[in-house]
Protein backbone atom coordinates (compact mmCIF):
# COMPACT_ATOMS: atom_id res chain seq x y z
CA UNK A 1 0.00 0.00 0.00
CA UNK A 2 1.41 3.37 -1.03
CA UNK A 3 1.75 6.18 1.50
CA UNK A 4 -0.50 9.18 1.00
CA UNK A 5 -0.76 12.54 2.71
CA UNK A 6 -3.84 14.50 3.63
CA UNK A 7 -5.33 16.14 0.53
CA UNK A 8 -5.38 19.67 1.95
CA UNK A 9 -1.77 19.32 3.00
CA UNK A 10 -0.77 18.15 -0.50
CA UNK A 11 -2.53 21.10 -2.11
CA UNK A 12 -0.97 23.55 0.34
CA UNK A 13 2.50 22.43 -0.78
CA UNK A 14 2.07 21.56 -4.45
CA UNK A 15 0.30 22.69 -7.61
CA UNK A 16 -1.25 19.80 -9.54
CA UNK A 17 -1.09 19.66 -13.34
CA UNK A 18 -3.47 17.36 -15.18
CA UNK A 19 -3.76 16.07 -18.71
CA UNK A 20 -6.86 14.12 -19.65
CA UNK A 21 -7.12 11.69 -22.53
CA UNK A 22 -10.61 10.53 -23.28
CA UNK A 23 -11.41 7.77 -25.76
CA UNK A 24 -14.87 7.85 -27.25
CA UNK A 25 -16.18 4.84 -29.16
CA UNK A 26 -18.30 6.06 -32.07
CA UNK A 27 -21.78 4.63 -32.58
CA UNK A 28 -21.28 3.88 -36.28
CA UNK A 29 -22.94 0.75 -37.66
CA UNK A 30 -19.59 -0.57 -38.89
CA UNK A 31 -15.94 -0.53 -37.89
CA UNK A 32 -13.53 2.23 -38.91
CA UNK A 33 -11.77 0.34 -41.70
CA UNK A 34 -14.07 -2.58 -42.57
CA UNK A 35 -17.76 -3.39 -42.85
CA UNK A 36 -17.99 -5.55 -39.71
CA UNK A 37 -20.87 -4.73 -37.36
CA UNK A 38 -20.14 -3.00 -34.04
CA UNK A 39 -22.91 -4.39 -31.85
CA UNK A 40 -22.10 -4.47 -28.15
CA UNK A 41 -22.30 -7.86 -26.48
CA UNK A 42 -22.29 -10.06 -29.61
CA UNK A 43 -20.99 -13.63 -29.36
CA UNK A 44 -17.16 -13.64 -29.35
CA UNK A 45 -15.43 -13.33 -32.72
CA UNK A 46 -18.61 -13.11 -34.77
CA UNK A 47 -17.90 -9.54 -35.93
CA UNK A 48 -14.51 -9.95 -37.58
CA UNK A 49 -13.10 -10.15 -41.10
CA UNK A 50 -9.69 -10.34 -42.77
CA UNK A 51 -9.21 -6.57 -42.34
CA UNK A 52 -9.82 -6.34 -38.60
CA UNK A 53 -8.05 -9.68 -37.98
CA UNK A 54 -5.00 -8.32 -39.78
CA UNK A 55 -4.87 -11.23 -42.26
CA UNK A 56 -2.29 -10.90 -45.03
CA UNK A 57 -3.40 -8.97 -48.09
CA UNK A 58 -6.49 -7.43 -46.52
CA UNK A 59 -6.92 -3.73 -47.29
CA UNK A 60 -8.70 -1.20 -45.08
CA UNK A 61 -11.16 1.41 -46.39
CA UNK A 62 -12.17 4.38 -44.23
CA UNK A 63 -15.73 4.62 -42.88
CA UNK A 64 -17.11 7.96 -44.17
CA UNK A 65 -19.40 8.32 -41.15
CA UNK A 66 -16.42 7.85 -38.84
CA UNK A 67 -14.66 10.79 -40.44
CA UNK A 68 -17.80 12.93 -40.30
CA UNK A 69 -18.34 12.14 -36.63
CA UNK A 70 -14.70 13.03 -35.92
CA UNK A 71 -15.15 16.38 -37.66
CA UNK A 72 -18.40 17.09 -35.80
CA UNK A 73 -16.69 16.30 -32.48
CA UNK A 74 -13.81 18.57 -33.46
CA UNK A 75 -16.17 21.41 -34.35
CA UNK A 76 -18.18 20.99 -31.15
CA UNK A 77 -14.89 21.28 -29.25
CA UNK A 78 -14.16 24.56 -31.05
CA UNK A 79 -11.22 22.97 -32.88
CA UNK A 80 -9.60 23.73 -36.21
CA UNK A 81 -10.26 20.98 -38.74
CA UNK A 82 -7.23 19.80 -40.71
CA UNK A 83 -7.37 20.51 -44.43
CA UNK A 84 -5.29 17.43 -45.02
CA UNK A 85 -4.25 14.66 -42.64
CA UNK A 86 -3.16 11.08 -42.63
CA UNK A 87 -3.53 7.92 -40.62
CA UNK A 88 -0.41 6.44 -39.05
CA UNK A 89 0.60 3.03 -37.79
CA UNK A 90 1.32 2.81 -34.09
CA UNK A 91 3.47 -0.30 -33.83
CA UNK A 92 3.43 -2.46 -30.74
CA UNK A 93 3.25 -6.11 -29.83
CA UNK A 94 0.29 -7.02 -27.76
CA UNK A 95 -2.34 -9.59 -28.64
CA UNK A 96 -5.25 -7.11 -28.38
CA UNK A 97 -4.29 -5.92 -31.88
CA UNK A 98 -3.87 -8.81 -34.29
CA UNK A 99 -2.13 -6.59 -36.86
CA UNK A 100 0.68 -5.75 -34.40
CA UNK A 101 -0.15 -2.11 -34.97
CA UNK A 102 -3.06 0.17 -34.29
CA UNK A 103 -4.21 2.48 -37.05
CA UNK A 104 -4.21 5.91 -35.46
CA UNK A 105 -3.13 9.44 -36.25
CA UNK A 106 0.21 10.85 -35.15
CA UNK A 107 1.36 14.38 -35.96
CA UNK A 108 -1.60 15.17 -38.23
CA UNK A 109 -4.77 14.92 -36.12
CA UNK A 110 -8.05 15.70 -37.85
CA UNK A 111 -8.95 18.30 -35.20
CA UNK A 112 -6.71 20.50 -33.04
CA UNK A 113 -6.52 23.65 -30.92
CA UNK A 114 -9.94 23.85 -29.34
CA UNK A 115 -11.58 24.25 -25.95
CA UNK A 116 -14.56 23.14 -23.93
CA UNK A 117 -16.20 25.35 -21.34
CA UNK A 118 -17.38 23.35 -18.38
CA UNK A 119 -19.33 24.20 -15.26
CA UNK A 120 -18.19 23.10 -11.82
CA UNK A 121 -20.64 21.90 -9.20
CA UNK A 122 -21.12 25.34 -7.68
CA UNK A 123 -21.64 26.88 -11.10
CA UNK A 124 -18.11 28.26 -11.57
CA UNK A 125 -17.18 28.24 -15.28
CA UNK A 126 -13.87 26.67 -16.31
CA UNK A 127 -12.32 26.53 -19.77
CA UNK A 128 -10.46 23.34 -20.65
CA UNK A 129 -8.09 23.77 -23.61
CA UNK A 130 -8.13 20.92 -26.11
CA UNK A 131 -4.88 20.01 -27.82
CA UNK A 132 -6.25 17.57 -30.36
CA UNK A 133 -8.88 15.03 -31.29
CA UNK A 134 -7.77 12.24 -33.56
CA UNK A 135 -9.20 9.14 -35.22
CA UNK A 136 -8.12 5.63 -34.36
CA UNK A 137 -9.48 2.16 -33.79
CA UNK A 138 -10.34 0.20 -30.68
CA UNK A 139 -8.53 -2.97 -29.62
CA UNK A 140 -9.84 -6.47 -28.94
CA UNK A 141 -10.89 -7.67 -25.51
CA UNK A 142 -8.69 -10.02 -23.47
CA UNK A 143 -9.88 -12.53 -20.92
CA UNK A 144 -7.19 -13.84 -18.59
CA UNK A 145 -7.65 -17.47 -17.65
CA UNK A 146 -6.27 -19.31 -14.63
CA UNK A 147 -4.97 -17.70 -11.44
CA UNK A 148 -7.27 -15.16 -9.83
CA UNK A 149 -10.28 -14.67 -12.09
CA UNK A 150 -9.86 -12.05 -14.74
CA UNK A 151 -6.57 -10.80 -13.33
CA UNK A 152 -3.49 -10.79 -15.49
CA UNK A 153 -1.17 -11.80 -12.67
CA UNK A 154 -0.96 -15.53 -12.30
CA UNK A 155 -3.01 -16.16 -15.45
CA UNK A 156 -2.03 -19.27 -17.44
CA UNK A 157 -3.09 -17.87 -20.77
CA UNK A 158 -5.32 -15.23 -22.32
CA UNK A 159 -8.30 -15.45 -24.64
CA UNK A 160 -8.99 -12.83 -27.28
CA UNK A 161 -12.25 -11.63 -28.73
CA UNK A 162 -11.73 -9.30 -31.70
CA UNK A 163 -15.30 -8.05 -32.06
CA UNK A 164 -14.21 -4.70 -30.64
CA UNK A 165 -10.97 -4.52 -32.65
CA UNK A 166 -11.40 -1.85 -35.30
CA UNK A 167 -14.41 -0.01 -33.82
CA UNK A 168 -13.87 3.72 -34.48
CA UNK A 169 -12.44 5.65 -31.56
CA UNK A 170 -11.86 9.34 -31.19
CA UNK A 171 -9.15 10.23 -28.72
CA UNK A 172 -9.57 13.69 -27.22
CA UNK A 173 -6.49 15.11 -25.53
CA UNK A 174 -6.43 18.22 -23.34
CA UNK A 175 -3.55 20.61 -23.02
CA UNK A 176 -1.99 20.51 -19.55
CA UNK A 177 -4.55 21.84 -17.09
CA UNK A 178 -2.68 24.21 -14.81
CA UNK A 179 -3.88 26.53 -12.08
CA UNK A 180 -6.68 24.24 -10.96
CA UNK A 181 -5.28 23.98 -7.43
CA UNK A 182 -7.53 22.18 -4.99
CA UNK A 183 -10.30 21.97 -7.58
CA UNK A 184 -8.28 19.73 -9.92
CA UNK A 185 -10.22 16.51 -9.18
CA UNK A 186 -13.53 18.33 -9.48
CA UNK A 187 -12.48 19.91 -12.79
CA UNK A 188 -11.48 16.51 -14.16
CA UNK A 189 -14.89 15.14 -13.29
CA UNK A 190 -16.75 18.16 -14.68
CA UNK A 191 -14.78 18.00 -17.92
CA UNK A 192 -15.41 14.30 -18.51
CA UNK A 193 -19.06 14.83 -17.60
CA UNK A 194 -19.35 17.72 -20.06
CA UNK A 195 -17.68 15.65 -22.79
CA UNK A 196 -20.11 12.81 -22.15
CA UNK A 197 -23.04 15.18 -22.39
CA UNK A 198 -21.62 16.64 -25.62
CA UNK A 199 -21.08 13.23 -27.25
CA UNK A 200 -24.68 12.31 -26.51
CA UNK A 201 -25.98 15.64 -27.78
CA UNK A 202 -24.01 15.11 -30.99
CA UNK A 203 -25.38 11.56 -31.17
CA UNK A 204 -21.94 10.24 -32.10
CA UNK A 205 -21.55 7.85 -29.16
CA UNK A 206 -23.62 6.50 -26.32
CA UNK A 207 -20.64 7.46 -24.15
CA UNK A 208 -21.34 4.83 -21.48
CA UNK A 209 -18.34 4.73 -19.21
CA UNK A 210 -19.50 1.55 -17.48
CA UNK A 211 -19.63 -0.28 -20.83
CA UNK A 212 -16.32 1.17 -21.94
CA UNK A 213 -17.68 3.23 -24.83
CA UNK A 214 -16.10 6.22 -23.14
CA UNK A 215 -12.84 5.82 -21.20
CA UNK A 216 -10.61 8.27 -19.44
CA UNK A 217 -6.87 8.17 -18.78
CA UNK A 218 -5.81 10.79 -16.25
CA UNK A 219 -2.28 12.18 -16.22
CA UNK A 220 -1.33 13.85 -12.95
CA UNK A 221 1.84 15.54 -11.81
CA UNK A 222 2.75 17.88 -8.96
CA UNK A 223 5.15 20.78 -8.85
CA UNK A 224 6.11 22.87 -5.82
CA UNK A 225 3.66 25.73 -5.36
CA UNK A 226 4.52 28.61 -7.65
CA UNK A 227 6.94 26.56 -9.79
CA UNK A 228 6.64 26.54 -13.56
CA UNK A 229 8.41 23.35 -14.49
CA UNK A 230 6.01 20.40 -14.44
CA UNK A 231 6.81 17.43 -12.25
CA UNK A 232 6.97 13.83 -13.45
CA UNK A 233 3.55 12.51 -14.32
CA UNK A 234 1.76 9.24 -13.93
CA UNK A 235 -1.06 8.07 -16.16
CA UNK A 236 -3.98 6.36 -14.48
CA UNK A 237 -5.72 4.18 -17.06
CA UNK A 238 -9.31 3.38 -17.88
CA UNK A 239 -11.10 5.08 -15.07
CA UNK A 240 -14.67 4.04 -15.75
CA UNK A 241 -17.04 6.43 -14.02
CA UNK A 242 -17.26 10.16 -13.41
CA UNK A 243 -16.90 9.65 -9.71
CA UNK A 244 -13.80 7.51 -10.24
CA UNK A 245 -12.19 10.23 -12.36
CA UNK A 246 -12.47 12.59 -9.43
CA UNK A 247 -11.33 10.03 -6.87
CA UNK A 248 -8.41 8.76 -8.98
CA UNK A 249 -7.01 12.27 -9.56
CA UNK A 250 -7.41 13.09 -5.90
CA UNK A 251 -5.71 9.88 -4.85
CA UNK A 252 -2.75 10.41 -7.19
CA UNK A 253 -2.27 13.94 -5.82
CA UNK A 254 -2.08 12.61 -2.27
CA UNK A 255 0.25 9.77 -3.30
CA UNK A 256 2.63 11.98 -5.31
CA UNK A 257 2.79 14.46 -2.43
CA UNK A 258 3.77 11.70 -0.01
CA UNK A 259 6.63 10.57 -2.29
CA UNK A 260 7.83 14.14 -2.90
CA UNK A 261 7.62 15.09 0.79
CA UNK A 262 10.02 12.25 1.57
CA UNK A 263 12.44 13.62 -0.99
CA UNK A 264 11.64 10.80 -3.41
CA UNK A 265 10.92 11.07 -7.10
CA UNK A 266 7.88 9.97 -9.05
CA UNK A 267 8.37 7.10 -11.45
CA UNK A 268 6.86 7.86 -14.84
CA UNK A 269 4.49 4.94 -15.28
CA UNK A 270 0.93 3.90 -15.92
CA UNK A 271 -1.22 3.24 -12.86
CA UNK A 272 -4.30 1.11 -12.47
CA UNK A 273 -7.34 2.44 -10.64
CA UNK A 274 -9.13 0.11 -8.25
CA UNK A 275 -12.71 1.13 -7.73
CA UNK A 276 -13.26 -1.08 -4.67
CA UNK A 277 -10.27 0.08 -2.61
CA UNK A 278 -10.04 3.60 -4.04
CA UNK A 279 -6.31 3.38 -4.76
CA UNK A 280 -4.07 3.09 -7.82
CA UNK A 281 -1.38 0.47 -8.19
CA UNK A 282 1.75 0.48 -10.26
CA UNK A 283 1.27 -0.61 -13.85
CA UNK A 284 4.03 -0.46 -16.38
CA UNK A 285 6.99 1.92 -16.29
CA UNK A 286 7.79 4.10 -19.28
CA UNK A 287 10.14 1.99 -21.40
CA UNK A 288 11.42 1.06 -24.81
CA UNK A 289 8.01 -0.40 -25.55
CA UNK A 290 6.69 3.16 -25.76
CA UNK A 291 8.72 3.73 -28.91
CA UNK A 292 5.87 3.06 -31.29
CA UNK A 293 7.76 3.78 -34.52
CA UNK A 294 4.83 5.69 -35.98
CA UNK A 295 4.81 6.04 -39.74
CA UNK A 296 2.16 7.13 -42.26
CA UNK A 297 -0.25 4.29 -43.07
CA UNK A 298 0.58 3.22 -46.64
CA UNK A 299 -2.72 1.37 -47.14
CA UNK A 300 -4.89 4.44 -46.63
CA UNK A 301 -4.90 7.66 -48.61
CA UNK A 302 -4.99 11.05 -46.86
CA UNK A 303 -8.21 12.55 -45.52
CA UNK A 304 -8.74 16.04 -46.92
CA UNK A 305 -12.13 17.35 -45.79
CA UNK A 306 -13.32 20.12 -48.09
CA UNK A 307 -14.30 23.37 -46.40
CA UNK A 308 -17.80 22.90 -47.81
CA UNK A 309 -18.10 19.57 -46.02
CA UNK A 310 -16.83 21.13 -42.79
CA UNK A 311 -19.43 23.91 -43.02
CA UNK A 312 -22.18 21.42 -43.84
CA UNK A 313 -21.22 19.44 -40.75
CA UNK A 314 -21.02 22.60 -38.64
CA UNK A 315 -24.63 23.29 -39.57
CA UNK A 316 -25.63 19.92 -38.06
CA UNK A 317 -24.21 20.72 -34.61
CA UNK A 318 -26.78 20.62 -31.81
CA UNK A 319 -27.42 23.47 -29.42
CA UNK A 320 -24.42 23.39 -27.02
CA UNK A 321 -25.45 21.55 -23.85
CA UNK A 322 -24.69 24.50 -21.56
CA UNK A 323 -26.85 26.86 -23.65
CA UNK A 324 -29.56 24.27 -23.85
CA UNK A 325 -29.58 24.01 -20.05
CA UNK A 326 -29.92 27.78 -19.76
CA UNK A 327 -32.87 27.71 -22.14
CA UNK A 328 -34.54 24.82 -20.31
CA UNK A 329 -33.98 26.51 -16.95
CA UNK A 330 -35.90 29.53 -18.27
CA UNK A 331 -38.70 27.39 -19.68
CA UNK A 332 -39.03 25.39 -16.48
CA UNK A 333 -38.71 28.36 -14.16
CA UNK A 334 -36.00 26.78 -12.00
CA UNK A 335 -33.63 28.84 -9.84
CA UNK A 336 -29.89 28.57 -10.52
CA UNK A 337 -29.51 26.32 -7.51
CA UNK A 338 -32.40 24.09 -8.54
CA UNK A 339 -31.03 23.74 -12.07
CA UNK A 340 -27.55 22.94 -10.77
CA UNK A 341 -28.96 20.21 -8.53
CA UNK A 342 -30.76 18.76 -11.53
CA UNK A 343 -27.59 18.89 -13.63
CA UNK A 344 -25.33 17.47 -10.95
CA UNK A 345 -27.77 14.63 -10.44
CA UNK A 346 -27.55 13.91 -14.18
CA UNK A 347 -31.30 14.41 -14.43
CA UNK A 348 -31.72 17.04 -17.17
CA UNK A 349 -32.89 14.59 -19.88
CA UNK A 350 -35.02 12.64 -17.45
CA UNK A 351 -36.83 15.75 -16.31
CA UNK A 352 -37.26 16.95 -19.88
CA UNK A 353 -38.88 13.62 -20.79
CA UNK A 354 -41.06 13.70 -17.68
CA UNK A 355 -42.38 17.13 -18.56
CA UNK A 356 -42.93 15.99 -22.14
CA UNK A 357 -44.98 13.12 -20.69
CA UNK A 358 -47.28 15.67 -19.06
CA UNK A 359 -45.80 16.44 -15.64
CA UNK A 360 -45.45 19.93 -14.18
CA UNK A 361 -41.87 21.20 -14.18
CA UNK A 362 -41.92 21.62 -10.40
CA UNK A 363 -43.36 18.16 -9.92
CA UNK A 364 -40.83 16.52 -12.23
CA UNK A 365 -37.98 18.18 -10.38
CA UNK A 366 -39.36 17.41 -6.96
CA UNK A 367 -39.89 13.71 -7.62
CA UNK A 368 -36.66 13.04 -9.48
CA UNK A 369 -34.08 15.11 -7.63
CA UNK A 370 -35.88 15.11 -4.31
CA UNK A 371 -37.44 11.77 -3.65
CA UNK A 372 -35.82 9.37 -6.14
CA UNK A 373 -32.30 10.81 -5.94
CA UNK A 374 -32.59 10.61 -2.15
CA UNK A 375 -33.67 6.96 -2.22
CA UNK A 376 -31.00 6.09 -4.80
CA UNK A 377 -28.39 7.78 -2.66
CA UNK A 378 -29.55 5.80 0.34
CA UNK A 379 -29.26 2.61 -1.73
CA UNK A 380 -25.84 3.76 -2.93
CA UNK A 381 -26.78 3.51 -6.60
CA UNK A 382 -26.60 6.02 -9.46
CA UNK A 383 -30.09 7.41 -9.72
CA UNK A 384 -30.80 6.79 -13.40
CA UNK A 385 -29.97 3.10 -12.97
CA UNK A 386 -31.79 2.98 -9.65
CA UNK A 387 -34.99 4.19 -11.31
CA UNK A 388 -34.60 2.09 -14.47
CA UNK A 389 -34.13 -1.11 -12.49
CA UNK A 390 -37.36 -0.43 -10.66
CA UNK A 391 -39.31 0.40 -13.79
CA UNK A 392 -39.71 4.03 -12.83
CA UNK A 393 -39.74 5.97 -16.08
CA UNK A 394 -40.52 9.60 -16.95
CA UNK A 395 -44.03 8.38 -17.78
CA UNK A 396 -44.42 6.88 -14.30
CA UNK A 397 -43.46 10.13 -12.64
CA UNK A 398 -45.72 12.14 -14.96
CA UNK A 399 -48.61 9.87 -13.92
CA UNK A 400 -47.77 10.28 -10.24
CA UNK A 401 -47.55 14.05 -10.61
CA UNK A 402 -50.92 14.01 -12.40
CA UNK A 403 -52.52 12.26 -9.41
CA UNK A 404 -51.31 15.12 -7.19
CA UNK A 405 -52.23 18.02 -9.47
CA UNK A 406 -55.69 16.54 -10.12
CA UNK A 407 -56.27 16.56 -6.35
CA UNK A 408 -56.58 12.83 -5.88
CA UNK A 409 -53.41 12.49 -3.75
CA UNK A 410 -51.70 14.76 -1.30
CA UNK A 411 -47.95 14.83 -0.90
CA UNK A 412 -47.60 12.12 1.67
CA UNK A 413 -50.00 9.84 -0.20
CA UNK A 414 -47.98 10.39 -3.37
CA UNK A 415 -44.86 9.43 -1.48
CA UNK A 416 -46.51 6.21 -0.32
CA UNK A 417 -47.64 5.57 -3.89
CA UNK A 418 -44.10 6.00 -5.16
CA UNK A 419 -42.90 3.59 -2.50
CA UNK A 420 -45.32 1.03 -3.86
CA UNK A 421 -44.22 1.66 -7.43
CA UNK A 422 -40.57 1.21 -6.46
CA UNK A 423 -41.51 -2.01 -4.68
CA UNK A 424 -42.93 -3.31 -7.96
CA UNK A 425 -46.61 -3.08 -7.03
CA UNK A 426 -47.60 -1.54 -10.36
CA UNK A 427 -48.26 1.86 -11.92
CA UNK A 428 -49.02 4.85 -9.65
CA UNK A 429 -52.75 4.55 -10.33
CA UNK A 430 -52.71 0.81 -9.63
CA UNK A 431 -50.78 1.32 -6.39
CA UNK A 432 -53.04 4.16 -5.23
CA UNK A 433 -56.13 2.01 -6.01
CA UNK A 434 -54.73 -1.08 -4.31
CA UNK A 435 -53.66 0.84 -1.23
CA UNK A 436 -56.89 2.82 -1.10
CA UNK A 437 -55.10 6.13 -1.29
CA UNK A 438 -57.45 8.96 -2.08
CA UNK A 439 -58.04 12.35 -0.53
CA UNK A 440 -61.37 12.67 1.16
CA UNK A 441 -63.25 15.04 -1.08
CA UNK A 442 -66.10 15.33 1.44
CA UNK A 443 -65.74 18.86 2.90
CA UNK A 444 -68.30 18.03 5.55
CA UNK A 445 -66.00 15.41 7.09
CA UNK A 446 -63.11 17.84 7.05
CA UNK A 447 -65.21 20.62 8.61
CA UNK A 448 -66.26 18.24 11.37
CA UNK A 449 -62.68 17.19 12.02
CA UNK A 450 -61.59 20.83 12.27
CA UNK A 451 -64.38 21.65 14.72
CA UNK A 452 -63.42 18.66 16.86
CA UNK A 453 -59.71 19.60 16.90
CA UNK A 454 -60.46 23.25 17.77
CA UNK A 455 -62.63 22.12 20.72
CA UNK A 456 -59.89 19.80 21.94
CA UNK A 457 -57.22 22.54 21.72
CA UNK A 458 -58.79 25.73 23.06
CA UNK A 459 -55.44 27.36 23.95
CA UNK A 460 -53.95 26.95 20.49
CA UNK A 461 -57.23 28.01 18.88
CA UNK A 462 -57.24 31.19 20.97
CA UNK A 463 -53.73 32.06 19.80
CA UNK A 464 -54.87 31.79 16.20
CA UNK A 465 -57.94 33.91 16.96
CA UNK A 466 -55.56 36.51 18.44
CA UNK A 467 -53.75 36.67 15.11
CA UNK A 468 -50.92 34.15 15.64
CA UNK A 469 -51.69 32.47 12.34
CA UNK A 470 -48.56 30.29 12.39
CA UNK A 471 -49.97 28.48 15.45
CA UNK A 472 -52.48 26.90 13.08
CA UNK A 473 -49.75 24.46 12.05
CA UNK A 474 -50.25 22.43 15.22
CA UNK A 475 -53.98 22.21 14.49
CA UNK A 476 -53.41 21.13 10.87
CA UNK A 477 -51.31 18.22 12.13
CA UNK A 478 -54.12 17.16 14.44
CA UNK A 479 -56.72 17.44 11.71
CA UNK A 480 -54.62 15.34 9.31
CA UNK A 481 -54.30 12.74 12.07
CA UNK A 482 -58.05 12.84 12.59
CA UNK A 483 -58.51 12.32 8.83
CA UNK A 484 -55.94 9.47 8.83
CA UNK A 485 -53.81 11.47 6.44
CA UNK A 486 -56.43 11.39 3.73
CA UNK A 487 -57.05 15.10 3.54
CA UNK A 488 -55.62 17.98 1.63
CA UNK A 489 -53.50 19.89 4.15
CA UNK A 490 -53.92 23.20 2.36
CA UNK A 491 -57.67 22.84 2.48
CA UNK A 492 -57.54 21.88 6.15
CA UNK A 493 -55.58 25.04 6.87
CA UNK A 494 -58.03 27.31 5.12
CA UNK A 495 -60.98 25.76 6.97
CA UNK A 496 -59.20 26.16 10.33
CA UNK A 497 -58.47 29.83 9.62
CA UNK A 498 -62.05 30.34 8.46
CA UNK A 499 -63.52 28.80 11.61
CA UNK A 500 -61.19 30.94 13.76
CA UNK A 501 -62.08 34.13 11.97
CA UNK A 502 -58.71 34.58 10.27
CA UNK A 503 -59.66 33.81 6.66
Amino acid sequence: MDAVVDYDEAIATYDPVMGLEVHVELNTETKMFCGCATEFGAEPNTQTCPVCLGLPGALPVVNAKGVESAIRIGLALNCEIAEWCRFARKNYFYPDMPKNFQTSQYDEPIAFEGYLDVELEDGTPWRVEIERAHMEEDTGKSLHVGGATGRIHGADHSLLDYNRAGIPLIEIVTKPLVGAGERAPEIAKAYVGALRELMRALDVSDARMEQGSMRCDANVSLMPKGAEKFGTRTETKNVNSLRSVERAVRYEITRHAAVLNEGGSILQETRHWHEDTGVTTSGRPKSDADDYRYFPEPDLVPVAPSRELVEQLRATLPEPPAERRKRLQGEWGFSDLEMRDVYNAGAVETIEETIAAGASAAGARKWWTGEIARLANKAGEPFVEFAAQRHVTPKTIAELDGLVTSGRLNDSMARQTLEGVLAGEGTPTEVADARGLELVQDDGALEAAVTKVIEANPDVAQKVRDGKVQAAGALIGQVMKEMKGQADAAKARSIILEQLGQA
Partner: protein, 101 residues
Protein backbone atom coordinates in the same frame (compact mmCIF):
# COMPACT_ATOMS: atom_id res chain seq x y z
CA UNK B 1 19.45 15.62 -46.27
CA UNK B 2 20.53 12.47 -44.51
CA UNK B 3 24.29 11.90 -44.60
CA UNK B 4 25.72 8.50 -45.51
CA UNK B 5 26.68 6.10 -42.70
CA UNK B 6 23.94 7.50 -40.49
CA UNK B 7 22.57 4.26 -39.06
CA UNK B 8 24.56 3.06 -36.09
CA UNK B 9 24.89 -0.49 -34.89
CA UNK B 10 23.15 0.54 -31.66
CA UNK B 11 20.18 1.88 -33.57
CA UNK B 12 19.85 -1.38 -35.47
CA UNK B 13 20.00 -3.30 -32.20
CA UNK B 14 17.32 -1.01 -30.73
CA UNK B 15 14.95 -1.38 -33.67
CA UNK B 16 15.50 -5.14 -33.75
CA UNK B 17 14.57 -5.22 -30.09
CA UNK B 18 11.37 -3.27 -30.72
CA UNK B 19 10.51 -5.67 -33.55
CA UNK B 20 11.18 -8.66 -31.26
CA UNK B 21 13.90 -9.92 -33.59
CA UNK B 22 16.91 -11.46 -31.90
CA UNK B 23 20.18 -10.72 -33.71
CA UNK B 24 23.60 -12.13 -32.85
CA UNK B 25 26.62 -9.80 -32.72
CA UNK B 26 27.71 -10.98 -36.16
CA UNK B 27 24.26 -10.42 -37.61
CA UNK B 28 24.18 -6.96 -36.11
CA UNK B 29 27.44 -6.12 -37.83
CA UNK B 30 26.18 -7.49 -41.14
CA UNK B 31 22.73 -5.86 -41.01
CA UNK B 32 23.98 -2.55 -39.68
CA UNK B 33 26.21 -2.27 -42.75
CA UNK B 34 23.51 -3.41 -45.19
CA UNK B 35 20.77 -1.27 -43.69
CA UNK B 36 23.05 1.72 -43.66
CA UNK B 37 23.60 1.27 -47.40
CA UNK B 38 19.86 1.06 -47.99
CA UNK B 39 19.22 4.21 -45.99
CA UNK B 40 21.97 5.84 -48.04
CA UNK B 41 20.34 4.81 -51.34
CA UNK B 42 16.97 6.08 -50.23
CA UNK B 43 18.54 9.32 -49.03
CA UNK B 44 19.63 10.05 -52.58
CA UNK B 45 15.97 10.77 -53.29
CA UNK B 46 16.43 13.90 -51.20
CA UNK B 47 18.86 15.19 -53.78
CA UNK B 48 16.19 15.06 -56.45
CA UNK B 49 13.39 16.43 -54.27
CA UNK B 50 13.11 20.19 -54.34
CA UNK B 51 11.64 22.11 -51.40
CA UNK B 52 8.35 22.65 -53.21
CA UNK B 53 7.65 18.91 -53.53
CA UNK B 54 5.85 17.66 -50.46
CA UNK B 55 6.77 14.19 -49.18
CA UNK B 56 4.21 11.52 -50.09
CA UNK B 57 3.20 8.46 -48.14
CA UNK B 58 1.25 6.97 -51.03
CA UNK B 59 2.14 6.53 -54.72
CA UNK B 60 -1.24 7.73 -55.99
CA UNK B 61 -2.42 11.34 -55.72
CA UNK B 62 -5.71 10.31 -54.13
CA UNK B 63 -7.56 11.64 -51.08
CA UNK B 64 -10.84 10.83 -49.33
CA UNK B 65 -11.34 7.24 -50.40
CA UNK B 66 -14.16 6.15 -48.14
CA UNK B 67 -17.02 3.67 -47.96
CA UNK B 68 -20.56 4.19 -46.64
CA UNK B 69 -21.29 3.05 -43.09
CA UNK B 70 -23.10 -0.14 -44.16
CA UNK B 71 -22.66 -3.53 -42.53
CA UNK B 72 -21.04 -6.24 -44.66
CA UNK B 73 -21.07 -9.91 -43.69
CA UNK B 74 -18.36 -10.89 -41.24
CA UNK B 75 -16.62 -14.24 -41.01
CA UNK B 76 -18.20 -16.86 -38.79
CA UNK B 77 -16.42 -17.47 -35.51
CA UNK B 78 -15.24 -20.85 -36.87
CA UNK B 79 -13.81 -19.19 -39.97
CA UNK B 80 -12.19 -16.46 -37.89
CA UNK B 81 -10.59 -19.02 -35.58
CA UNK B 82 -9.61 -21.48 -38.34
CA UNK B 83 -6.13 -20.01 -38.65
CA UNK B 84 -5.51 -19.76 -34.92
CA UNK B 85 -2.94 -22.18 -33.45
CA UNK B 86 -5.22 -22.59 -30.44
CA UNK B 87 -8.63 -21.42 -29.32
CA UNK B 88 -10.89 -21.77 -26.31
CA UNK B 89 -14.40 -20.49 -25.53
CA UNK B 90 -14.69 -19.27 -29.14
CA UNK B 91 -11.71 -17.00 -28.54
CA UNK B 92 -8.12 -16.87 -29.75
CA UNK B 93 -5.86 -18.48 -27.17
CA UNK B 94 -2.53 -16.75 -26.62
CA UNK B 95 0.26 -17.50 -24.16
CA UNK B 96 0.28 -15.76 -20.82
CA UNK B 97 0.62 -11.99 -21.16
CA UNK B 98 3.32 -10.69 -18.88
CA UNK B 99 2.21 -7.14 -18.24
CA UNK B 100 -0.99 -5.24 -18.60
CA UNK B 101 -1.54 -2.65 -21.35
Amino acid sequence: MRPMSSLSRDEVAHVAGLARIHLSDEELDTFAGQLDSIVGFVASVNEAAADDIPPMSHPLPLTNVTRPDEVRPSLTADEALSGAPASEQQRFLVPRILSED
